[in-house]
Amino acid sequence: MESNEAHSAIVSPTGTWWLPAGKQETMWVGIAFVWCLILFAMMPFWHFRGGQNPSGVRSRVAPSEFAARVEKFISDYKVGEDNGVPVVAPPAGSDIYLMAQMWRWYPVLRLKQGVHYTLHLSSVDVNHGFSLHPVNLNFQVVPGYDYGLKIVPNKSGDFRIICNEFCGIAHHTMVGKVVVE
């Protein structure tokens, strides 16, 4: 099946050039294809067996409505203040709310290790980026959308929330706090 002609990529191929590929090329295409199937299969697999998925409970929410939920959440479970930001200690298993706003994360969350919460993220103005530091969990925070993520803190400590989506001139000062006990 091998051709006795070879030309470069700037030459117009004439005659029949739709010929079976060589053995090595065919083998590489096969191996690469199998690898691509594995790349795909890992994603559904992790939904069944893995602990970290970005699924969440997703819904639309008006910014004013989300702000009202955050205020209610704070008044229900507020335990103090830290640098002028309310500190909230919600019960295990509850819905917890974090509001992104130019340029703060509101409120400070005090959580317990090893129990689950449903963390609701939304913005009341522009796009923001939730980045839990130093765990390095990152989610997009979009105004008008409520992203409810079931989280289980696996370590105690003092964590930060960095905004990692550009949100205006004081973007770099938008740092929040999570304490896990």
Partner: protein
């Protein structure tokens, strides 16, 4: 040709190196588009200096407002203006010039060039005046001056006209029988780039026109819908770059070492896969967004088969295999790697293309597919890993390939000897190594959670302090050094290109007694056609050097990919 009107015939010259018939309009449009591309590249480089010297916290050069303005300027001028102007030049080459055809309706080409330049100037003016500090992505509700969006629309309309002109050229060339058989592979690759460009520019129209109206308070734009459609432009345009860059790899393989097409069928199918499996590439950017569910994300990331990734992996084999086979046909048959050792590493056309293949594949492809995986994106989204990744694809891959081909465009199209030839031989190495150091430093910082698009990661004035892992400081310094090296390489490229175009010594094939300033492939074009028993033998021997290289590549890919799953598994449970 005999039937050609004298006025039309006068438009053509015959290239004394390649024998191609070149239309004056195609050639001149190629030149002006390439020159404006380099001007945009210069703007982008100046902005890059401000950005990298600010993100390096030890230097922290710019104030916050200028930093974000420079970042907007850098993204636009590099990723849109430089690259698309250069791709317009490639379309003029791969269409009328490679097919030895006239350029139909040259006035359209000139009007499109005018429109694109106007759009570019309007948008850049808005950014420089501080009326569009919205970064390259301009996510609403961040708002820019309406003229900012209008400029981009004008630019896109111009680019769309040039791609239509390219399609028209294919029709004209076919009808006027300027070539026999099928169009060459390089033209076929450019055709796929042009088709993807149409898809991309339509996404651009669908998103920028409503956004322009929104900026005039005439309609509402949903922030999440914007992100989805905008990335239909933003990511698909990278697929234009990939198709154009792979075409340039094949072109440079042909010109520098007489690389052959091992299988037309395999290479063309791989190009076709780019068109078929890229349309919803925006999904990669929305993997941790609240607007879409997991089924949508997984399906649109992979179409269950990752065939666009497969396409790049195929080219990653066929390009080096074509070079290996071409070199073997030229007599470099000893051992497994003589073809590679005896390659013209002092020819910037070759060294640039070779580094582009390696950087794009090993770093760009591997990191991109990995962080573009639904769950792994959780530990990568909007960290410095993301720009780290795309500086290895679009800069170390595409821009470096375009620089490499410039060293052939200067003598063949501008008919000038390349100025500062000694520097030119080093330039791809300086730029390539700089970009690799820069990008890897960004990737490592991203792994430690350092955000992208952030003026001050020490968070001065924030209510709570952030402490990064101490190793971040080291990568900050290497990022600065790599960035400076890449900027020097970029400035060297601009210096060489500008001096050559405006003050260069003319190049004539007869003056070969002084070879300086002209790549070896131009002085003596390697054989582009081989026939007979030697070819049969070459096909039978195969390309075992390439087989080993792609084996190493796949091993690195698998290792990096699963290391990231392992890293992810340490994080908090989330779902």
């Amino acid at each position: 040709m005999s039937a050609m009107a004298p006025a039309l015939a006068a438009r053509f010259r015959t290239c004394e190196v390649t024998g191609l018939k070149v239309d004056w309009h195609a050639e001149t449009l190629l030149k002006v588009n390439a020159v404006v591309a380099v001007v945009n590249f210069l703007i982008g480089i100046i902005a890059a200096f401000g950005i990298v010297m600010t993100r390096w916290q030890a230097v922290h050069l710019l104030p916050a407002d200028l930093f974000y303005r420079f970042l907007t300027l850098h993204g636009l001028n590099m990723l849109i203006f430089f690259i698309i102007f250069f791709e317009m030049a490639i379309l003029y080459f791969a269409g009328p010039i490679l097919l030895k055809s006239r350029l139909p309706a040259p006035k359209v080409g000139w009007a499109a060039f005018g429109l694109m330049t106007l759009g570019m100037v309007v948008t850049n003016t808005m950014v420089l005046q501080g009326k569009a500090d919205v970064l390259f992505t301009s996510y609403p509700p961040l708002r820019a001056d309406p003229l900012y969006y209008l400029g981009i629309i004008l630019f896109a309309v111009g680019a769309l006209a040039v791609t239509c002109l390219f399609f028209a050229t294919l029709v004209v060339a076919k009808r006027e029988r300027t070539y026999e058989g099928s169009i060459p592979l390089v033209s076929f690759g450019a055709l796929t780039a042009a088709i993807i460009a149409v898809i991309t520019l339509l996404h651009g129209a669908v998103i920028y026109i409503p956004t322009l109206l929104w900026s005039l308070d005439l309609m509402h734009v949903d922030p999440e819908v914007y992100r989805m459609v905008w990335w239909g432009l933003g990511h698909s345009s990278q697929q234009i770059n990939v198709a154009a860059q792979v075409s340039v790899w094949y072109l440079l393989a042909a010109l520098t070492v007489g690389g052959v097409v091992v299988s037309e069928k395999v290479s063309r199918m791989a190009f076709a896969l780019y068109i078929l499996f890229i349309s919803m590439a925006s999904a990669h950017h929305l993997l941790v967004d609240p607007g879409m569910g997991p089924a949508w994300k997984i399906w649109n990331t992979s179409y269950a088969m990752y065939l666009a990734v497969l396409a790049s992996m195929v080219h990653g084999f066929t390009v080096p295999a074509g070079i290996e086979m071409g070199q073997r046909l030229r007599g470099y048959t000893r051992g497994t790697f003589e073809w590679l050792k005896k390659a013209p590493w002092g020819d910037p056309g070759f060294s640039g293309a070779a580094m582009s293949v390696v950087i794009f594949g090993f770093l760009g492809g591997v990191t991109g597919v990995t962080i573009g995986t639904e769950q792994i994106n959780i530990i990568a989204h909007n960290t410095l890993r993301v720009p780290g990744h795309f500086h290895t694809t679009v800069v170390g891959g595409t821009a470096l390939a375009f620089m490499a081909v410039t060293y052939y465009v200067l003598p063949l199209i501008f008919r000038k000897r390349v100025a500062f030839w000694g520097l030119a031989k080093l330039q791809p190495y300086i730029f390539g190594i700089g970009i690799v150091i820069l990008a890897m430093s960004m990737i490592f910082q991203g792994i430690f959670g350092v955000p992208r698009r952030n003026w001050d990661i020490s968070a001065t004035g924030a209510p709570f302090q952030i402490e990064y892992h101490p190793v971040v400081q080291l990568f900050q310094a290497t990022m600065g050094i790599g960035g400076l090296l890449a900027i020097l390489g970029g400035l060297a490229y601009i210096l060489i290109a500008v001096v050559t175009v405006f003050f260069g010594r003319p190049f004539r094939l007869a003056d070969s007694h002084d070879p300086s300033g002209v790549p070896p492939g131009v002085w003596k074009l390697p054989a582009q056609m081989h026939q007979g028993a030697a070819v049969t033998e070459a096909h039978r021997t195969g390309t075992r050097g390439t087989v080993i290289l792609v084996g190493i590549f796949l091993a690195c890919f698998i290792l990096y990919y699963f290391a990231n799953w392992k890293m992810l598994s340490f994080a908090w449970k989330v779902g």
